[in-house]
Symmetry: C2
Subunit: 654 residues, 2 copies
């Protein structure tokens, strides 16, 4: 049996008896959005069935309108013969997302501002070996060790990996015994430690003469959604190039839980590891080719990701992460070697993984706290990273407490009917005029076509504006009376009865297509914002403080580029404190990885941050559930916590 795809690059692919369309497409490397991992729950993997017989076992989240037009869920549709389909653009996973590299130039400045120099763990020394002679016929390796000693290198113990030695003899002779030796040197870690001075591991050796070999490093941020790679010259710390791509583990589900479930299935862990390895290697290879450098010159990598991503990258079973009491396999990762990882880099190169403090507070948060500098100052700061999950940390140079909010991936589009990530075609900002006219900002669309969906910052804007205009009440319920009262006005067209009950139309096309928020969508958004606010609140109370004591708020993650603080406060997601306290940091996971890559001192600082963190498990915290219930309101049941919002609302109502 065959599956014909109209308008696609691949016209016809095979499909087996009992195989779903989603599975057949996957096998042909065509990936659809499937937040639930293909379990018929998210309603995202829509395709249009044009022709041919098929068993359809479910229509979750499809409107009658959609069903009538032939839309089916690819994961619930099983061809019984040759079938033709069309894949709407909105169902395809977008690739090649642009990342904001504007901060890249500031990276060197950041290192310097943190009082550190470029001093990576992989170092280089020029050595002149004594050439062998009759009567002095000790081995090549003993000669290298002797030259290191003569050069005054205080390396108590140096490990020579097998891969390092296989090509050494040739290099030594070609070099006339004058070489540049590259080696990892660390002062404290699971790999090696010396009696006097430091210890390390050999990485590479090159002739002194000839073209300079170079010594590069990669900083890698493995997000649940996006993978980012920075290629850095380890000699001067300069960012050479960067690249980003979707984490192709997405094909197995949007969030860490779905991935952990897949990992525990037969061969799943291997699949997931392979996915992210290929993503990262694709970026390293592309950058290396563009910059005309051999990936063997990539001698160090620092990996930063949440605990699940870090485990999957290393092929470590993540099962215990989702089982009470939520224990990861490894928190402080040993320095492993390139060959252990499968990365496109020197086999003897060093890999450091940012420590994962707890199952839901990972290396990305340690990176973020490091990059924020909050643990170096007296002022009490709040760090929050709103990505696929939502982690928060509160502290200063003396203490640090952290928690994971379980906000869920709703701000990345999951669980929202027209939700999507912050990519081209997403509504990223919404304003509703007093006349109930809607103004939307769409990413890279210029208003030309119907937007593809709505992303996190758009949701925050939309819900807070709807609240401000009285379209929803404090519980998030639609004010249907308001629409009725104005039956012929602008509102009636927008606040209408849809398939799943009432819905609010944010944008519509000429053929009746719409982008709308449903009552269920709004409830999901309120649950997410409540989880975040309650998490912050619980942490602050745990240390005996109030929101007013927070002197700085660092906001990291995808939101960093779009979030409207005023609207997020009105929503009750962020605390109602002076706006000048908020600082946007962008992707701090990659920044922290960069810092650990170029400065051994900062890498050690990251380890210290992890060891100083106190983790608070919110799911068993007695106060958290109350905090959460109160935060489900707009902005909050305790109006005194949101004085400026209340003042604004009173101004409108009054």
């Amino acid at each position: 049996m065959n599956l014909r795809i109209r308008g696609g690059q691949k016209n016809e692919i095979p499909v087996g008896e009992g195989q779903s369309i989603l599975s057949a497409l996957k096998a042909a490397d065509i990936y659809l959005t499937a937040s639930c991992g293909g379990k018929g729950a998210c309603g995202k993997c829509r395709v249009k069935l044009l022709d041919g017989p098929a068993d359809i076992t479910g229509f979750t989240k499809l409107t009658r309108e959609e069903r009538n037009s032939g839309i089916v869920l690819a994961c619930r549709t099983f061809p019984k013969g040759d079938v033709s389909i069309e894949i709407p653009e909105t169902s395809r996973i977008a690739v090649g997302e642009k990342i904001a590299l504007s901060r890249a130039e500031n990276l060197l400045g950041l290192v310097s501002a943190m009082g550190r120099q470029i001093d990576p763990a992989v170092k280089t020394v020029r050595l002149q070996l004594v050439p062998p002679a009759i009567g002095d016929n000790s081995s090549d390796l003993e000669r290298l060790k002797g030259a290191l000693q003569a050069a005054g290198q205080k390396i108590a113990v140096l490990y020579f990996p097998h891969d390092f030695l296989t090509g050494m003899g040739k290099v030594l002779r070609e070099a006339g015994w004058n070489v540049e030796f590259h080696y990892l040197i660390i002062e404290k870690d699971g790999l090696t430690i010396g009696k006097d001075g430091a210890a390390g591991s050999a990485v590479a050796i090159y002739p002194q003469s000839g073209p300079k070999a170079g010594r590069y490093g990669v900083a890698v941020d493995i997000g649940t959604t996006t993978v980012v790679v920075y290629l850095v010259d380890l000699a001067d710390g300069k960012l050479i190039d960067a690249g980003s791509t979707y984490n192709s583990q997405i094909r197995y589900g949007d969030d860490v839980i779905t991935r952990i479930v897949h990992a525990t299935e037969r061969g799943g862990l291997k699949d997931l590891r392979q996915c992210v390895l290929e993503d990262i290697n694709g970026l390293i290879d592309a950058i290396s080719q563009r910059r005309k450098l051999d990936t063997k010159t990539v001698e160090m990598a620092v990996i930063s990701g949440n605990t699940t991503m870090s485990h999957l990258f290393w092929g470590l079973d993540p099962a215990s992460i989702r089982e009470e009491p939520y224990v990861p396999g490894v928190s402080y990762f040993p320095f492993w070697r390139g060959a252990d990882s499968g990365l496109s880099m020197n086999a003897c190169g060093a890999l450091y993984t940012m420590p994962c403090m707890a199952s839901y507070v990972g290396g990305d948060i340690v990176s973020g706290v490091l990059a924020s500098g909050m643990t170096r100052k007296k002022e009490i700061a709040l760090f929050m990273d709103i990505g696929t999950n939502g982690e928060v940390a509160v502290g200063n140079d003396e203490w640090l407490i952290t928690a994971a909010c379980s906000a869920g991936p709703c701000f990345e589009g999951s669980g929202i009917r027209h939700g999507m990530r912050a990519t081209e075609g997403a509504i990223e900002s919404v304003r509703i005029t007093p006349d109930m006219e809607i103004e939307t900002g769409v990413i890279g669309n210029n208003g030309a076509a119907l937007p593809r969906g709505i992303c996190g910052s758009g949701m925050i804007d939309a819900v807070s504006e709807m609240f401000l205009r009285g379209i929803i009440d404090r519980k998030g319920g639609f004010n249907l009376y308001l629409a009725e009262r104005d039956a012929h006005g602008a509102l009636a067209k927008k606040l209408r009865a849809g398939e799943d009950g009432a819905e609010f139309v944010l944008a519509s096309g000429p053929a009746g297509q719409i982008i709308a928020l449903t009552q269920a969508d709004i409830e999901n958004i309120l649950r997410a914002k409540a989880a975040i606010y309650a998490g912050i609140s619980a942490l602050v109370k745990e240390v005996g403080l109030s929101m007013a004591d927070i002197e700085k708020v660092y906001i990291a993650g995808g939101f960093g580029n779009y979030l409207n603080v005023e609207r997020a406060i009105m929503l009750g997601m962020l605390p109602d404190i002076p706006r000048e306290k908020f600082v946007f940091l962008g992707n701090t996971s990659i920044t922290g990885a960069y810092l650990g890559l170029v400065s051994e001192g900062l890498r050690r600082e990251a380890e210290e941050i992890a060891s100083r963190m106190t983790y608070m498990e919110l799911s068993v915290s007695p106060g958290f559930m109350n905090e959460y219930m109160s935060a489900l309101f707009l902005p909050h049941t305790d109006s005194t916590q949101f004085p400026t919002v209340e003042k604004l609302l009173k101004g409108i109502e009054g």
Copy 2:
């Protein structure tokens, strides 16, 4: 085109245009003896051409008789169409040689006699980990580290290889957090060293409950000709089983030089490494199956071999070994892991390689000196290992000097027309009666058939007996006058004119087939014995001693089982000192590997032995060439060095 093989297991194999018969046979896994590596020089790869057209480009070392009967050299014969051949048994490489395991039971006694206990570098400790709980959610690895600390394990730094951690979480949970932890612990090495106490590397982890996992080790002797494996229970040091096979690198040539040359050819190093790996793995797998144990329980291996074999095993370029000034790539090998080696063993298991002191004094000699115990006593001892090369060491508990004699592989059959290894069908002893009748001892043949050839001990017997009976003179030249004088006697039939000049027939078959020694063979044997004696003599003189000062002679290697000391002294190969000083040790390379495997103290002792050895490069020693020239005579130009031989000769002559 096809090659038909009469009487073989494979009847027909393909052969390409321009491909030699040797090469076609190799490709079909049929191996012939080819000491020269198939270069048309050794004359060993004889096959009988029965039928079909072929280009023949050389007949080196074939007699006219042989040529007339259709014998060709497989390496010099290129079929031009379908060809039929027959492979004589003597051309095939024999496999499955039996090894003398009689000493195996004495191994434990040897450890104890050396004042050591069974104390391998891979140890085990039972640990009770604290199970995780809400509020105590540190990672599995941190829990393991904590339990080690609580158990009072003084391990300053413990490295956790990547492979170790991939399965740990599952084991911990299945075990209910009560585990048996296996780890490598060393006090001094390239791998790790601790600030306080020792350092090590994790190897394996098992539940305490359930069947006992076992902890095994393998001692491996990689000889140029033979590979021997001992499987040992690391808990009590008992030898569980052993196996041996030919080193299949033989297909690329008999001696280390031919192998080094092959290694420098395209892909050659990889081939050679693969050969010996498959040989060793074949033995480990066979033994493991027989003993019903999982190769994952093989947690340590000690490799002992000459410098070239050690380099080839690890895939290290051996080129510099044969280039002046003869420098190996590595002498002290780091502890590498199972995964680095490709051995059938635990990927995290530890591999130690006996140190290779110089290019031609390798780990096998360090093993031998260790096993002999000569460096623990005041008495001055001579250690000699006559294998494919011929290494000697002289010393005691205070000093140790060593040299390689370049005796060549003649005692293993190479360069001798009917020479062969000491396997079934080899003449291993020869006695010539005053009536010129010849009595031969043949290995495993019982005199039933014509012997296949003559091995080293047979050569020594034959030449010394020929000398004793006046058949050859002091220079090794045939006494043709003696045969002429006795034209109708027993001698005339034996000392006859052959294709390559005079030859002495040791055995003959009914169809005129013979086993004989030619003038060239005798010259080769004299050169080999002269190299050995001159080496010993040069070493002894270097330290200001004379042969009479040697209080003990340890003889190791294949000869250990067959050599007739009296005859070897008469030949002038061994010094003419009291016979009770000679001790046969058999294969000391495997014994030394065993000792290093079961006792960390003895492994360190081997390192100390290597570091104490003074290496003497004979090829540049001013006295050596004179010593060698003098030793080319029978027994020696300086008759005072062989008083008992001279006395015996005088008795016969007088």
